[in-house]
Symmetry: C2
Subunit: 348 residues, 2 copies
Amino acid sequence: MISSSELKKRVERLHLSMECEGIESLLVSNPKNVGYLTGKETGRILLSKDQDTLWTRELYTEMHSDLYFGKGYPFEVAVYEKDAVKRKIADLGIENIAVENMPFLKYENTCKELGMKVLVSEIVEWQRAVKTVEEMEMLGKSARIAVNAMEKAYDVVREGVREIDALAEIEYEIRMRGSDSPPFNDGMLLSSGKDSADIHARAGRRKIKSPSTVVVDLGGRYSGYYSDMTRTLEVGRIDAKEKDLLLFVDDLRARAIDMIREGMKAGDLHSFVEKEMEKKGYKFFHGSGHGVGLEVHEFPSIARDSADVLKDGMVFTIEPGIYIPGKMGVRFEDMVLLKNGKARILTR
Amino acid sequence: MISSSELKKRVERLHLSMECEGIESLLVSNPKNVGYLTGKETGRILLSKDQDTLWTRELYTEMHSDLYFGKGYPFEVAVYEKDAVKRKIADLGIENIAVENMPFLKYENTCKELGMKVLVSEIVEWQRAVKTVEEMEMLGKSARIAVNAMEKAYDVVREGVREIDALAEIEYEIRMRGSDSPPFNDGMLLSSGKDSADIHARAGRRKIKSPSTVVVDLGGRYSGYYSDMTRTLEVGRIDAKEKDLLLFVDDLRARAIDMIREGMKAGDLHSFVEKEMEKKGYKFFHGSGHGVGLEVHEFPSIARDSADVLKDGMVFTIEPGIYIPGKMGVRFEDMVLLKNGKARILTR
């Protein structure tokens, strides 16, 4: 359960960033961002120098309070009524306002609603990329669920078992370990043999063969915070060339993690992974990693040409993968925390 | 497995709508829309009078073909390269182009990429709201998974069982019944007693008490198509007033479904539900329903002031709910298919 003091810290940090970036006021309505700042993914917030207001449905006013989150809840809470935001802006004399990176038609409607042109800013998403101590703890617990579930995977992935049955057992384990939700929006991935050459392959009714390799991509969720982890499992005795490929990708994962330093450009980290693969004669078809937090995929993006800078407090994945159509796929993924300048693996 | 002939039908229908709305060409990149038109949720499409092109990653060119979907795959498939879309637009002499309702910053980047101002259209989402015969079949099978899972819920929801444990059993059942993924993005909802007064309450470690009511909101997914269904279960002998509330909401669900007619405004259907609740002395805190298909929430929206028109072939939910803070929540939800002018319940 998140506390008022933690929420207050987040709101204060956001005010500082707004000041740095010259944002006079900010209207927040993306449920994940609202949840990050208020403790509950519902309602709309207006942040400004003079006042931080949260509008919510009548049903929720009681939950958004000291009663629920402890003394010092950092918002004035009001029931949402038509034009409430517009009136508040006029009352506070606000002249410029920023909103989130929302769908285009919603952006147009917001401009119409407020009767003014608004800026678009990803300031909340960037703050969310750098975790607070409390968030690091939640992410650590979430990673623990993933590690335990992966142990279960090593247990249930066997010759003759249908992919979907192995997956159901693992998802069940994830829930029983206390995960808030199933792993990821579309559920976890489990694919064997040549089907695993498709990055997004979903578990089917195929039976797992021996020898073969099985890609298992899973995660948990603790107090809203996701985790993400992938292993490529061996079933039976795979041949030496396949074994070599597994070792190469797993080693590349480890080497990439060792390279991580504070202040590094995410695109450079990706280039390293891509070049190592090319040396070995393979192309790299996806990004090297992504931030993890209240969403499975958030900032930073560790991909080609990414200018995102890796900062202390960020939590993200490193996930090299090689895919050979008609043959097999191999991916190894860990979730790391960048702290005191270096990366520490959380999924271990 | 979707066939080339089904995909062709969808693409042809989209071309007709584009002509009606005066859209010369359409760039599609939302994975759900791409999946709807190409059979696989990856890549970008440009639809125009002269040619329908799909750009994808090298890894996927083989999967996007007659080989995989059967004779007559309706796209020219090319590997994506920088500025490929811009060059194609120039080659085909396209003068105006529409894109989907994408995030604002992505919209700005797309304008920059294409070197022209683009329109925003939800034409694909609106086509998706009216299901093809094949889609109705998938949705029927998906609804069947939900119904079977709900039977499991009646079985496992008992006094003394932790909410999270009951939920894990039900999600396991959903997977074992062949669901493509867990129900919904955040998993299913199961909440008992006073916690169910929160519409979005998630299962916790609380034990289910007797007497109490338990809201179970679940669904399955078959060949990509979701289902959605809610029941409020009784544990032990609840009092007469509570029983009366359950009967009222369930009956209101049935009456709303009986009222559905082709050509009706969705907002009017919602008004009916809201007014009936108000007569009984309750407020209605959410929408009466939403379309279901490749997404759990899609068009139409059955909510206050919705101008969406209910059409033959639409599949959507009807879900009245009453929430009494500190006491209980009651919701009953069915998924219906509007066919031959009337609604037929799929979740039964």
